[in-house]
């Protein structure tokens, strides 16, 4: 007798994936809906939301700001993350765990607190005006721990003998870094760059508190959420942001796995 048995765990997994994805997928779904309200039944297919989005000059400006901040933040955070990861994986240091704990602190402290603490020191103590630079500073703070985690997992199990060999063969520390350490860490570095870029590109709270007149894309999006009549271009913008994040995360994850598999330095 053939019985159709559905494993409860599998059934739950299907439910779970639906719970995870359905709410988020509503944004792209309704972005193509020919109506200014997001309700069922849907009215018909349109690209008007996307047209409205592309025609909005302040949106394009916010996109430019977000790209600049994102690229700058990913480079600076990855450089800082790499230095810290190299130090932490290679040397035994007294007091390493409190130092590491402090660097990892932005992972657990609510970003609201980080943002207002930075705001207080910037405005009240140093009287620095709020610009995209202050937003970028806040984003670096959030990105460094992630970058460090990614790069530490890449550098752990790194064969110290390779660097020693390079030194023995007469390379100085700088050239050893570029010819040995850097190529081995490269998949991790690219993964970290991409991850920091997405974090910065999507980050809202820091940008909301630390930006002046120049907005980043999430801050712009937030300002649009208040106007119901602007829902179609806002949904189109939201869908585009989701698409960018998904592509970048998939590439970064693929690179990281690829990097783990080709752990032999000869592979590069």
């Amino acid at each position: 007798m053939v019985r159709l048995r559905i494993d409860p765990a599998t059934a739950y997994a299907i439910f779970f994936v639906l719970f995870l994805y359905v709410p988020v997928l509503l944004i792209p779904l309704f972005s193509f809906n020919d109506s200014t309200v997001a309700t069922f039944p849907m009215k018909g297919f349109t690209l008007n939301g996307y047209r409205g989005m592309a025609a909005d000059a302040s949106l394009i400006n916010a996109l430019k700001n977000s790209l600049m901040v994102g690229i700058g933040v990913s480079i600076v955070s990855t450089a800082l993350g790499l230095l810290a990861a190299m130090g932490a994986t290679r040397y035994a240091m007294p007091g390493k765990s409190p130092v590491m704990g402090t660097i990892m602190l932005p992972l657990v402290v609510p970003s609201l607190i980080l943002a207002i603490a930075l705001l207080v020191i910037l405005r009240q103590v140093f009287d620095i005006p709020l610009t995209l630079w202050t937003v970028a500073a806040g984003h670096v703070l959030v990105c460094v721990p992630f970058s460090m985690l990614v790069l530490m997992s890449r550098l752990e199990g790194f064969d110290k003998g390779l660097e020693e060999a390079s030194n023995d063969l007469g390379e100085n520390a700088w050239m050893t870094f570029w010819r040995v350490t850097f190529p081995i860490a490269l998949p991790g570095i690219i993964a970290s760059l991409l991850m920091c870029f997405t974090i910065s590109f999507d980050e809202f709270v820091m940008a909301f508190f630390l930006s002046g007149t120049d907005q980043t894309l999430p801050v712009f999006l937030y300002s649009q959420l208040r106007f119901p009549q602007r829902l179609p271009p806002t949904l189109a913008l939201g869908s585009s942001i989701l698409a960018v994040s998904v592509v970048i995360v998939l590439v970064s994850e693929w690179l990281r796995r690829f990097g783990v598999q080709s752990n032999k330095p000869g592979a590069f």
């Binding site: 509503l26 932005p106 609510p110």
Partner: protein, 328 residues
């Protein structure tokens, strides 16, 4: 490439040479030298701002001017007992005899909402992590990526998605009406604490799966076989072997969700409405339009200290250290 010759050293100053030799002998110094740029940035942008917040919390604001004499006035402001003329505030039927009970009530409410969201996250995440660890045999990486992918997309958009779901004319209401199950839109879906809890749980669940999954994956499968061989049924085996061994992952996940959500700002602002606001909204308005920065600093610190205290009590209560030792 130039081979290092002893002659090159002659160009260096004696002190530079000594410094180099000292560095070579002390491994920790090389480590710290390498980490120093990161440490300096973190000192300037994380430690200094928090110290500034602490200092500020002892100052007082007089309309537009800040008085820098250190006092405990802000902390007293938060816990000052109600005078005989003040009305007693009630929350969940419990009286709060404070002059400005709003802050304490809001803090407790945020902790309760965050706690509920954490419990919901664990209940949702555990079976999924179990499925990933024990049932998925092939393409584990693809499953893991599919589960964690939403966590990397915009938090703001994930919260906004729930506004679309739960709103008065939203997806659930219009869908149910289309199906003829209800005539009137349900008003209790959006703008209340439950909407905040659902949204928080959805936003963090993808992240919470990982620690539980890792701890389940680490369980020695022969222990499970032994339990079965000795006569445990699947359900007893789960409660006697699997669950206790995965407890560290559950604890890590709970903390990963609980600690950052108490001070969340985006979710209560977008889906909370007037009844669903949390302590983050109060802190934001103190720093923003109310311009009470010292009081806001004090409130932020009280929130962080309360969360730290709860976490420490929780870890002590579950005997986390003992658990780690016995598993290792």
């Amino acid at each position: 490439m130039a081979v290092a010759e002893p002659g090159q050293r002659l160009g260096w100053t004696a002190s530079g040479d000594q410094w180099n030799r000292w560095l070579r002998r002390h491994e920790w110094a090389r480590g710290y030298l390498l980490m120093s740029p990161t440490i300096l940035v973190m000192l300037a942008m994380l430690v200094a701002p928090i110290v500034a917040l602490v200092v500020m919390s002892f100052w007082t604001q007089h309309v537009l001017e800040i008085d820098r004499t250190p006092t405990l006035a802000n902390y007293w402001h938060l816990i000052e007992p109600a005078g005989p003329d003040d009305e007693t505030a009630y929350w969940l039927g419990i009286p709060f005899p404070f002059k400005r009970a709003v802050y304490i009530v809001l803090l407790l409410k945020s902790i309760l909402m965050s706690f509920t969201a954490t419990v919901a996250v664990i209940l949702l995440a555990y079976p999924m992590a179990y499925f990933l660890a024990f049932r998925v045999k092939q393409h584990k990486m693809i499953w893991l990526m599919a589960i964690t992918l939403p966590f990397w997309t915009s938090y703001l958009l994930r919260v906004f998605a729930w506004k679309l779901m739960l709103g008065f004319g939203g997806v659930i209401n219009s869908g149910l009406m289309k199906l003829g199950l209800i005539d009137q839109p349900l008003e209790f879906l959006l703008y209340n604490p439950i909407a905040v809890v659902i949204t928080l749980a959805h936003a963090w669940v993808a992240f919470a799966i990982l620690p539980i999954y890792v701890s389940l994956e680490k369980i020695d499968r022969s222990l499970l076989e032994a339990a079965s061989d000795l006569g445990d049924r699947a359900i007893t085996r789960f409660f006697r072997v699997t669950l206790p061994l995965s407890a560290p992952g559950v604890i890590a996940s709970s903390l990963l969700v609980f600690i950052p959500t108490v001070g969340d700002y985006v979710t209560p602002t977008l889906v909370g409405g007037p009844t669903g606001i949390m302590i983050g909204n109060s802190i934001q308005s103190l720093f923003g339009k109310m311009n009470e920065i010292p009081l806001g600093s004090a409130l932020s610190l009280v929130m962080m200290l309360s969360v730290t205290l709860i976490v420490c009590l929780f870890l002590w209560a579950v005997g986390y250290r003992k658990m780690q030792r016995s598993i290792a």
